[in-house]
Symmetry: D2
């Protein structure tokens, strides 16, 4: 894939935004290879994402930012620009269940994942061997119910020392402290094994079995202080029927979970997601 | 379709049930054209549905019942037998929204619906003209908030006088009284415009919009005293994204709702559903 | 829905197109409510669709066109602009099968269809009563195998006299003459009851049954001289299994067909489709 | 999962088959935990699969077979019985693409796959390291276009020496010789990366791209002498649109392929598939 810059913008809607941005780019001979827009009539906001061929522009990201800043200010934009040549640093967190972790490691291994897995953190040692094979640092940090803060301080230090861009909870069975969620808002992605808001909390497949639903699902969302209530990125479902036991649902659900998580992460890594309040705009 | 008997059974599981039933049928030269079984290891129950070519048996349903009763007793069966030549009598109930009603009327018109729509009841007059065209009696029964019991007494009388087999709430926007739900338990089918248990209650598309889900759904279920909590028969979903407004969701949802309701009713009319506690076994 | 203009453009890709178009619009205070872009790296073309609030612009479509023409010329654009206040005139063509026709009539009846069904043409009389109820002119034009050209001349005259914008073959079982296809290229939409290119031609469900596929589908496409080979607009599938007979497949397929056709027509009516060679860009 | 016997039967349909089989089982106190039937009115055949709790029967598979043989003869059954405690021996064959291979290795690793991967055969060495990690023998057998028979003789010998039960072509890019296909009929499973019969043969995603389809698919089927024409076991699709390049299709298709192959193999390993002429009955 050719190197590109990704310019992602959210601002109050109005006349002339596209014109201003596109003209700014055209002035510098910027070649737009992909452009997505969304005007939300309900809240009066405008969202925009452009991919621009990096080689068509005369400056790097810093110079771009400086040149663009006055426009951003004029339109009160929340915005950022990313360079596809600078892959995001990813930390995966897992417990004992391997399917989501193994899937992301595999996608990374084959080059499908645009980003670099810099470390795996787990509260158990079960998945170490698998991670070792991929030559990725594995950190075993036990979460003692009595000394949670010790564990999460250590985890936070790892986030810092790795300069992590995005954390993926790949079936990590611990609840992160509020302060950590707040500090890394919009940068921690979780996979929940239900079609949210149904069956939030513990043992969603057991809940689904009890309720007798005909489809099971999975939801990928940003983590906030409110458990399983953060902005949803991606969801999908799979049909089941009366003959499926809880064990069948767990087995079938694994395939939905890992696909939903992989798609959600894919969008994040390519800066395709804009969070606005508790919802997401996803430019697939 | 050839005329058939449908023998539907639920009983505590054990050795010899299939043998006993199949041998009973074979003794009378009964030709089984479709057979479905389900043994639920979790609750220890066994469920079974057989379609038998009517012409292969030497007796009618009453004689069949008499001959089968001792076996049913031996295995403590809850069971019934239905004759495909005796279509179920259906009453549709609607308010102002026409999509589910129109869809079922159309399916009936083209002969796809195995059953006979004997009447339509509505608390509004808007859909009368459409129903009239199908030459089906239309009953306009206003539900005055102050005098609900009057309205529902009248409705119950209609159920009786039409000797209704199944009532379909095709987006009927009133809550039925508990007593009516109890009396017609397992015979009233509702379509709810969400993927239950998410967004039970009023305005589910508005709830879905607020939560920012990526799929909208519909659920067809039996009505019980607990609103939107009855046994689920069928569910389906459709993908949406950030650009879909509530109006889009309502429009797209209509297609899901009418299909889910039609499928659910189809299963009911062919005696493909067994209700067990708050769940369904559906032999598609 | 607020009145809008839809500006649809295809041109060789290059720097400055978005800037030029957006600035043109901004100059006249045009408020863009929806914008879609696609740059096709494989063929070097650029495609664009803008919805602009009509009330925000100081001119009507003719004046817009005149003002925009120089830009269009500069970039060698194939383009058009449409006014949402001027609904497209639709002619539906059917034979004996009613499901697609009934579905589109119903959607029109409820105001879901952005466009006006001006007439129905059929080679049979079976569906007349249904069409009459909707107070839409019904033309019964028999297609005598010996005198096809007479029939199709008559049909072509109807297209002319109704000044039709789009013709929908809603399970019309006759093959249109090449000249007619050519003359109305990009304006005749067909629904084929298979997942094309599988099972083109006659009796696709029978073909699917013979092949033992596990999904059946439907495809909505523009009609060209090459039967079932025109640009595909929309497709969908439904799961079947070994127990489904051809009759089941036909029944289940009806639901897929009418949804796929309705979606395809919906996109066309809102000018969301650009045809390029034998493929479509569909800005959903 | 509790140990069970799986009794799979196909025979000309008639009265008394279920009775005879069920009574045979009941006589020996056989506890049926799952039963599936299918009577095909079109070809007059009857298909049946029973899972029986092994511990409930007084004999092993050989004794069972001897006792059952007279009944099988009476009804002209094609039948077999399998023991869940004797996992099928699987050989995987791959070339350079790793996604299907990695997926099956992973499922085996986590115990999801009911069967034992005894060896991997490849015409390239690329995937050796991955296979080695799983401690499964890897055989690199180059297929020289001039000396294909040498290679395939060697492969056939491996099939023999491993006493393979089922061979999976997990994106193995070589065509097996007819004699090998014939000898292992019903025991070689292939994944083809299209929705068959569309896009049989080479480079299906390129074909799909050219045709402009709106869904891509994958098909899992038994291998016969006729390339990509064997009985289909399982198929699935995924939505794409105009913005997806061939590379995107290949990437997105990988997820469909590996799921379809895993499901197809799952059914085979549990003896859920009956092949009849060129179609399959799959008792999910």
């Amino acid at each position: 894939m050719e190197r590109c810059y990704r310019l992602v913008i959210a601002c109050p809607d109005g006349v002339g935004i596209v014109s201003k941005v596109a003209t700014f780019l055209a002035t510098y001979n910027g070649w737009i290879t992909e452009a997505s827009h969304h005007a939300d009539a309900a809240n009066g906001w405008f969202y925009m994402r452009n991919e621009i061929r990096a080689s068509s522009l005369p400056f790097d990201i810093e110079a771009f930012s400086m040149a663009f800043e006055p426009i951003a200010k004029e339109f009160k934009m929340r915005w950022h620009i990313a360079d596809s040549a600078k892959p995001k640093k990813i930390i995966l967190m897992a417990s004992k269940e391997s399917h989501c972790l193994a899937d992301l490691l595999y996608r990374s291994h084959t080059g499908e994942l645009e980003g670099k897995i810099v470390a795996v953190i787990s509260n158990h040692n079960d998945l170490k061997e698998m991670v070792d094979w991929h030559k990725i640092p594995f950190h075993h940090i036990t979460v003692d119910p009595e000394k949670k803060s010790t564990a999460f301080n250590e985890i936070e230090s790892l986030f810092e020392s790795y300069e992590v861009d995005v954390v993926v909870l790949a079936r990590y069975m611990q609840i992160l402290p509020s302060a950590l969620c707040a500090r890394f808002a919009g940068r921690i992605i979780n996979i929940h094994h239900s079609f949210l808001p149904s069956f939030a909390g513990a043992k969603p497949y057991h809940q689904a079995y009890q309720r007798g639903v005909k489809l099971i699902g999975a939801s990928c969302h940003y983590v906030t202080e409110d458990l399983d209530e953060g902005p949803i990125i991606e969801q999908d479902v799979r049909r089941i029927n009366h003959s499926d036991t809880i064990e069948d649902m767990i087995r079938l659900g694994r395939d939905v979970e890992r696909q939903v998580l992989a798609r959600g992460l894919f969008y994040h890594l390519q800066d395709r997601i804009i969070i606005h309040e508790n919802k997401t705009i996803v430019f697939e």
